[in-house]
């Protein structure tokens, strides 16, 4: 008998017009691991994340998280099941402050009603204090203190990426989806990111599924990797094994000729 799976994707398919973006993709993420999705441009990595977080509706297949099929949920219900994400092209609320952005990450933990909020008394006030306390912890963790009260449009790109990470963490997920967390970061920022990703796994016990192009980052921090090309799985294993896989080498470098 197979033990209950933490997170698995089974036979996921999606088609955009004439392009079969994903074809019968199956993968499994072990609890407490850092799992990378790699592959050349257009392989369908981001599409998988978008299907999991229900930005796209998959044509077929299931996504099972902690024993529940989450592939039929509405987009806003996914985060309440314990899956939160970041975006490849930053999707922050650009006219709000860093603080408010991260506070929005806690929206799924909201307990108050509209009436509570209108009066801002008792429960609503306590909740707001709790939210802010938790957000301050995350701000400390990701070194965002200096930017706390600045609007997003006034902070540098690298920091914006961190704010997105902070916002995803604020939801206290069990599974964190990161879409190219290191794109656009310089070497130093990527180093910081690598430490944070490991800390997120070890200190918060959050499982991470990330799409990443920076192979050094993948080799350094990931426990497992799945390689894709043209919407299908090429190889699965430890990052070191996957990069040596002849199919993967062929996909990246072309055939020896």
């Amino acid at each position: 008998m197979r033990e209950r799976q933490f997170f698995s994707v089974q036979n996921l398919s999606i088609r955009f017009g004439g392009i079969q973006a994903l074809k019968d993709v199956s993968l499994e993420v072990k609890p407490g691991s850092i799992h990378a999705l790699i592959g050349p441009n257009g392989a369908g990595k981001t599409t998988i994340l978008n299907c999991i977080s229900r930005v796209y509706k998959a044509d077929g297949g299931t996504v099972v998280f902690k024993g529940e099929d989450v592939s039929r949920l509405k987009p806003h219900q996914v985060v309440s099941r314990g899956i939160s994400r970041t975006f490849q092209n930053i999707e922050l609320f650009s006219n709000m402050t860093v603080m408010d952005n991260i506070l929005l990450g806690r929206h799924s933990k909201r307990q108050t009603s509209l009436l509570n909020d209108a009066l801002f008394w008792g429960k609503s006030q306590r909740q707001e204090m709790q939210f802010r306390e938790r957000v301050e912890e995350i701000i400390d963790f990701l070194d965002l203190q200096a930017y706390r009260n600045l609007p997003i449009s006034r902070i540098p790109y690298g920091v914006q990426k961190n704010v997105e990470l902070a916002r995803a963490l604020a939801a206290e997920p069990d599974l964190l989806l990161l879409d190219e967390p290191s794109s656009g970061l310089n070497v130093e920022e990527t180093q910081d990111l690598a430490f944070w990703i490991e800390d997120i796994k070890e200190d918060f016990g959050i499982t991470i599924l990330l799409v990443e192009h920076d192979m050094r980052l993948v080799m350094d921090v990931c426990d497992a990797a799945t390689a894709f090309n043209y919407g299908s799985v090429l190889a699965y294993g430890t990052p070191a094994d996957v990069v040596k896989d002849p199919e993967v080498v062929k996909a990246y470098l072309g055939e020896e000729g």
């Binding site: 806003h76 922050l92 408010d100 929005l104 108050t112 006030q125 939801a171």
Partner: protein, 357 residues
């Protein structure tokens, strides 16, 4: 320069950041309460209208400024509030104190219908759809004469509390001011809690908002609902203040003037709603005052007011998109940071990110 040492999380979100702010607001409160002593009857009626329009503008600002959903149908919601209150108190003899919330609630229900297109439409298309619904309500008022009095309109009485009747303009002014105060506090509270943040999130990024767990359809509907509730309450006050309402009080131009209010006042700010209401109420006064001094070709034109609305709107959008509130912030900044103010402080930055949607 002022710095604040924050010792509790409450410091970040309290209504008055500095003690001096509280003092200024108390002073403003005294001035507002003492206004009837120094103003004539005409001035008081203008001030009462400012209060009523400010309530509408607060609501519309929540919808357009904070949630990013445009509405050109707010005159219709204003009308629903006015007629509900007028019919309930006039025909059915219901007390004003029940008719007032009823007007708000019925407007909120109509607001849901006006908001339905918002679940699928955006920007210009939403503007046209809400405009259409606004016209529908206007036509219903004209043609359903057994209920609304049609083009003849309805007479409305002033509210009574126990033995006291709000028959004088001064007493009605105090009623409007106290309701405006309550509505402002509610708005401020909503904006500093998850509800308000969710609205702003929807305005800034649909995708991110829903991935944070915000139900877009529900929150857009709630935004329309709350906004309509404000318009309904204001409509009810308007009806009882004017003694008489007819379809001409709720035309499309009124919807436009509500929109001008929030743009001129400052989109996405609570202060802006009040500034805008003051501006829009005083503008016609200013126009009729200057008419006599203008060359006859311009001064005698019929559409002078509408044209001025348009001109003001264009000038604000071009030169001060943050409206009067933005200007107010800049002046405040100048004095707070004297002599460190430099001309580029508020220069708008160019943005190069977010190419894909």
């Amino acid at each position: 320069m002022r710095f604040i040492k924050r010792t509790t999380y409450m410091h970040d979100i309290q209504l008055f950041r500095y003690r001096s702010t509280l003092v200024w607001y108390l002073l403003l409160g005294v001035v507002v309460l003492a206004a009837p002593l120094s103003m004539g009857a005409y001035g008081m009626s203008l001030l009462t209208l400012v209060g009523i329009y400010a309530i509408v503008a607060l609501g519309l600002n929540l919808l357009t400024g904070f949630t990013g959903q445009i509405s050109l149908g707010h005159a219709a919601l204003f009308a629903v509030g006015a007629y509900t209150s007028a019919i309930l108190t006039g025909t059915h003899g219901v007390s004003f104190w029940l008719a007032l919330p009823a007007a708000g609630i019925l407007a909120a229900i109509v607001g849901i219908f006006i908001g339905l297109p918002a679940l699928r439409l955006k920007g210009l298309y939403l503007a046209i759809a809400t405009m259409g619904l606004g016209f529908i309500v206007e036509e219903i008022i004209v043609h359903w004469s057994s209920m609304t009095g049609g083009v003849n309109g309805l007479a409305v009485s002033r509210p009574v509390l126990g033995a006291f009747e709000f028959s004088s303009d001064d007493s009605f002014y105090y009623l409007v001011v106290s309701i405006l105060f309550i509505m402002t506090v509610i708005m401020k509270n909503l904006l500093r809690t998850p509800t308000g943040r969710a609205f702003v999130a929807i305005r800034d990024s649909d995708v991110a908002a829903s991935s944070m767990g915000i139900n877009l359809a529900a929150y857009k509907t709630i935004a329309f609902c709350i906004s309509a509730f404000y318009a309904g309450i204001a409509g009810s006050l308007f009806a009882h203040f004017m003694y008489f309402i007819g379809p001409e009080n709720f035309t499309f131009l009124i919807s436009i003037s509500f929109l001008v209010m929030i743009v001129v006042g400052g989109v996405g700010s609570v202060h802006g709603a009040v500034f805008g209401a003051i501006f829009i109420t005083l503008l016609p006064e200013f126009i009729s005052f200057t008419r006599g001094y203008l060359p006859e070709v311009i001064g005698k034109q019929v559409g002078l007011q509408e044209a001025t609305y348009g001109l003001v709107l264009i000038l604000f959008l071009r030169f001060e998109p943050m409206g009067l509130y933005g200007r107010w912030l800049k002046i405040k900044f100048y004095f707070e940071h004297f002599p460190f103010y430099k001309k580029d402080t508020f220069k708008r930055e160019r943005k190069f990110y977010r190419t894909e949607h």
